[in-house]
Amino acid sequence: MTRRQRRLVLIGTGVGVLAIAATLVLAALKDSIVFFNSPTDLVDKHIGAGTRIRLGGLVKSGSLVRGDNLAVQFAVTDGNKEVAVAYRGVLPDLFREGQGVVAEGALDAAGLFRADTILAKHDETYMPKEVAEALKKQGHWKDSYGSAAAAPAAPAARSAR
């Protein structure tokens, strides 16, 4: 093998691996990212049944209904629109009515949001960043929701530290 051929092999392998990685990344970005929406976005953008999204807002006071076998249902509101959410499983430690929540899942044909993951805000003074911004956009932000709005969000049923 000449020096030139050796270099070609090296460069060829490098480009090959990078190409594979780029393909994987592009394919994964197409399939596995999830967009964040407020209830208003959900209505305005006409998001169809089956599209996986994150829905964020406040748990509407008095809307929580517990069913059998860990099933729960509640409404998520941004002060403007609200969406009914169904979930089965253990709610995170900090899930409370009237406070911030992020639910991940999809709408079903009947317009009910079926969540498989619930993330609740992280402590008494903080609000998930996305929820805070969505509320501000709808003009329903109150300073009492917490001064440091964009700090620790969300470890929960299935989430991050």
Binding site: T13, A21, V25, I33, F35, L70, V90
Partner: protein
């Protein structure tokens, strides 16, 4: 008073860092050995002052001096002493001070133990280390002063975030920072070498122990953090692809690549440009990580506060150091001569392949972590990139790396014979095939990927052992000779073998946990029994218990297997009244390398308790593997070759002089 002393010590440290940053350069320019020699003692003095400042902050926390803002915000007089101390770095200001302490520590270590380094390289590297220190000390003093006073002083503090009140906080951040700030020193060496324009095999040998030290601590820190998340979050996951975790994984991947390419540079004088680039890259990624975590652009428990001034300041530091070092690199790198020819099938070739996969994997993590931020900045769309993305990109890139890992150490330098190596690995392959078949036989109906995962893990482990038996000539000569030969092998060879074996162990743990883990969620009345994988757990009821700054509600469960009592598990829900927060304290029962994992959910209105129960087969191997990797790293670090350092070739020095 103590707080003011701490503040003052930090200002003095900044002054010393400025001296350390400027004078050695001047000395290098004017060829004044006295000015050059100032670097080492200033580095040690700077460390002493940062240390004093840090101790002052620890003191304020220990005595609960609530007139200091950070103490008020993060401490409580009733908090146990260990959390008063670890709470020092459980907040933004304190953790930045810890960051600087580590930075100064590595400078002082080089000053104190770098006796075998050439004077100019050592002093220039220390000067660059000091520039980093200047930037971050200014950052702390200007935007995040941990000693800010609060007037009037409150009587009681607001307590530390309960999630952080765990022994994990005492260990995880210091280890992690030792690792990821540790790469600052390889960065400084790389920049110094670029400035001096002398980059040779000896440089790689001198820098390798430092890179290894940082790598060892980073590995420990990441593993520790992963185990902490596993037991503390209550649902049994051990890796979340959280941006903050990715921030520590990226320097680890780049650092691992650096360790491997430095071997090629040291032994064969090749890959010089690439190795220098990796040294720059590893610390650049640490800086990116610091930016992600500390600027508040992410939402995560690690992000303690959100202050735009801080974000902009760190971004400026980031741009300055990364931009500066890459500019320096672009200017100087073309001057390097490449040496050491080799064929694609050779040890060098395998190490290049290793680097290629590690860096590509690192790039996918980088994209997945930063893409949401970039998209939000550009379009305002908010997205989340989670585990599915990383499983689809990172994992496929790691599999060929793992396969190549068994071949690499067996290949000879310069030119090798793949067929011959494959023959030596027949044993490993046979074990892997048997493992696959056995797994298929035992776990009929299980996921198809699992047996192959087990096979891959076995191949990696036996492959690592093959490297050892081949070198010792175990099956070619008498047993006694082989043992003696194995004992005489360089420790770095043992290190490689052990570390690679550890990787195999971790892979086995990951596969076991992911493929055979079982999960049950039940809502139970006292007296009821729930079963998982041959284990029967009976709920005996909930007992309240008082702690120093919390109340515990402890669930008692008796665990039986086949009717035989094997133990009691006591998970609890812990209520912290000061912050009105509840945390989940899960209970773990270890059986061999597997664990039963039990955590409590909210009590339901009808008196039932929600229980989450997991069986995690082989899960402990994940962290045991990491510990074995660390052991391998330590073994390699203790190699005499690295301790003694490169011999100083008088001839080379004489030649280098007129060239300047």
């Amino acid at each position: 008073m103590i707080a003011e002393l701490g503040h003052y010590a930090l200002v003095l440290a900044l002054g010393l860092a400025l001296v350390q940053a400027v004078v050695p350069f001047w000395g290098a320019r004017s060829r004044d050995p006295v000015l050059l020699a100032i670097a080492a003692p200033t580095a040690i003095a700077q460390f002493a002052f940062v240390g004093a400042s840090f101790l002052a902050l620890v003191w304020c926390h220990v005595v609960s001096d609530f007139s200091v803002l950070t103490v008020f915000e993060n401490s409580h007089s009733a908090k146990p002493l260990i959390y008063k101390i670890s709470g020092v770095w459980g907040n933004h200001e304190g953790s930045m001070l810890l960051w600087i302490l580590m930075l100064a520590l590595f400078g002082a270590l080089v000053a104190g133990f770098g006796g075998n380094l050439p004077d100019r390289l050592k002093s220039t590297a220390l000067a660059i280390q000091a520039w980093i220190a200047v930037a971050f000390e200014l950052f702390v003093l200007v935007t995040s002063n941990p000693f800010t006073r609060l007037v009037p002083a409150p009587l009681e503090g607001r307590d530390l975030n309960p999630i952080l009140q765990d022994p994990g906080l005492a260990v995880h951040p210091p280890l992690l920072y030792l690792g990821y700030v540790g790469f600052s020193i390889t960065f400084s060496f790389a920049a110094a070498a670029l400035i001096e324009g002398r980059i040779d095999a000896a440089w790689a040998r001198r820098v390798r122990p430092w890179a290894l030290t940082a790598w060892i601590f980073l590995t420990l820190g990441i593993a520790m953090g992963s185990y902490w998340a596993y037991y503390t979050l209550g649902w049994g996951g051990w890796w979340f692809w959280d941006p903050v975790e990715n921030a520590s994984l990226m320097p680890w991947l780049a650092g691992t690549a650096l360790l491997h390419s430095a071997v090629v540079m040291e032994k064969r004088d090749a890959l010089k440009i690439w190795t220098i680039l990796l040294a720059v890259l590893a610390f650049s990624l640490s800086l990116v990580g610091t930016f992600l975590v500390r600027s508040g652009v992410l939402t995560s428990v690690h992000t303690f506060a959100n202050d735009p001034a801080r974000g902009v300041f760190i971004l400026a530091i980031l741009v300055m150091f990364i931009g500066g070092s890459f500019a320096l690199f672009a200017w100087r790198a073309p001057l390097l001569k490449q040496g050491g020819l080799f064929a694609p099938i050779s040890r060098e070739g395998a190490l290049i392949l290793n680097n290629l996969f590690l860096i590509t994997a690192c790039a996918t993590v980088f994209v997945g972590t930063l893409y949401p931020l970039a998209l939000e900045a550009l379009t305002g769309e908010k997205i989340s990139v989670g585990a599915p993305f990383f499983n689809a990109t990172f994992v496929p890139l790691f599999i060929p790396l793992l396969i190549a890992m068994s071949f690499g150490p067996l290949l000879s330098w310069k030119r090798s014979d793949l067929y011959g190596i494959a023959q030596r690995l027949v044993g490993a392959l046979a074990v892997a095939v048997v493992g696959i078949a056995a797994t298929f036989a035992v776990e009929s109906g299980g996921p198809v990927v699992a047996p192959f995962g087990v096979g891959l893990a076995l191949f990696v482990m036996i492959g690592a052992l093959t490297d050892l038996t081949e070198r010792a000539g175990l099956f070619r000569s008498s047993f006694g000779t082989a043992i003696r030969r194995a004992g005489g092998l360089p420790r770095s060879a043992w290190g490689t073998m052990i570390a690679h074996f550890g990787v195999g162990l971790s892979v086995l743990g990951i596969v076991g946990e992911a493929q055979w883990g079982a999960e049950r969620i039940a809502s139970m009345h006292p007296g009821e029994t729930v079963s998982i994988r041959h284990y029967d757990l009976t709920f005996d009821g909930i007992v309240p218990r008082a702690g120093p700054n919390y109340r515990d509600f402890v669930g008692k469960f008796t665990v039986k297997r086949g009717g035989e009592l094997i133990g009691i598990m006591q998970p609890s829900r812990r209520v912290y009244p000061v912050r009105a927060m509840t945390t989940t304290q899960s209970a773990l029962m270890t059986r061999g390398m597997s664990q039963l994992y039990l955590s409590l959910g909210d009590p339901e209105p009808d008196g039932r308790t929600t229980v989450r129960l997991y069986h995690k087969p082989l899960v402990l191997l994940i962290w045991l593997g990491a510990a074995v990797m660390v052991l391998g790293g330590a073994m390699s670090l203790s190699d005499r070759r690295l301790r003694v350092g490169a011999p100083r070739p008088a001839r080379a020095r004489a030649l280098a002089q007129p060239a300047e």
